[in-house]
Symmetry: C2
Subunit: 215 residues, 2 copies
Amino acid sequence: MAEQVSEQTTNRLSLYLRFLNELEAGGVRTVSSKVLAARFDLNAALIRKDLSHFGDLGVRGVGYVVADLRQRLRQILGLDRCLNVTIIGAGNLGFALADYPGFRKEGFRIVALFDTLPEKVGGRSRSGVPIHDIRDLKQVARREQITIAVVAVPAESAQVVVNTVVEAGIKALLNFSPGALRVPPDVKLKSVDLTVSLESLSFHLARGVDRPPRP
Amino acid sequence: MAEQVSEQTTNRLSLYLRFLNELEAGGVRTVSSKVLAARFDLNAALIRKDLSHFGDLGVRGVGYVVADLRQRLRQILGLDRCLNVTIIGAGNLGFALADYPGFRKEGFRIVALFDTLPEKVGGRSRSGVPIHDIRDLKQVARREQITIAVVAVPAESAQVVVNTVVEAGIKALLNFSPGALRVPPDVKLKSVDLTVSLESLSFHLARGVDRPPRP
DNA sequence: TTTTGTGAAACGCTTCACAGCT
DNA sequence: AGCTGTGAAGCGTTTCACAAAA
């Protein structure tokens, strides 16, 4: 077990975990790869492969024990520890993310916002997350044990902000700015590019979602 | 040209286009696949393959003419027409997206917000996008020629909202709610799952971004 | 010479199919 | 009988390598 695991696999593990939470809440004891596959429109073998990367998690003839698999997935995804998150950029998007209830629900704690504007620093988000000066990032990051930074600043300042975050010793970044960003190899950067997403939809509209037959 | 093109290819086309905008603004005449490749950390052959799906866009020995390729990519991505977008859910995230400057910059027009709460309906976002009652979606969608909907509502209401959007005749959806959603085959759904993104980062932290050598 | 466009090879992910366990 | 774990096959994407064009 535990060689390299593809990003696609880990993304699916998150989905499985979310479903297992529901199943456990509903008092379901075991679940088969077939049931999981039906839920997510995937092939059952793929789910077994995904899980088999981490040992023999299932029971032949029975399936997976919901409580055990859930526990194990939380551990694999690192959700059994405390995960403190900061958001850089106290603009509309930064505030929205700081107050997004979905994060707290899954065990992430948003502990700080950062900005450069003096009129914002010292304030708080609606839900009470304090806004610090970006120059204090390193200090606050250490004090609050921040391990993940969400970057929600305009494209022009994105690379500078990313550099600051990396210098503060944070090794995991979720970026919402458009454009290519560079990070050292020991830092994990994941980007959500809203423009690319919309343009992908535009492409499908332009081409016709049901492709018209070629002449 | 113009068979099926993978989503990965179309996503990259968006990135190329953004860079071409910069190049044209900077007065650059031509660009080679090698330069594009360096910019995005990709293989030059991949860029040529991506572009070759749409005809012979380059000139051997020279590269690609920036102005021409930009124009062609805008056309391919459907950005040469008017693209009216609505945002469903006038919560923190919905407002942030409605006022996100990046969308307008690329030619998308956010023309309406929708919500169910009477105290929100009739109001406007900070940048002036009017908030309508979700029950008026079909009517407003037709009047405003809305072709893309962004879904930013809580998970519980997501499927219902998606159904309403589909019934209103909108064929392209960008979804921010967690969980599996069903749409008919002629509708294009793209989802951004913030929890999955954060959990993916958590996984890499838990495992060590530089993987520790196996014992 | 430079750089595109493209078959062929390489690679990685998914599905198949079945041995093995309960 | 039922279901997992997995080698082998299948398939889609990326990279290689080179002929063709400017």
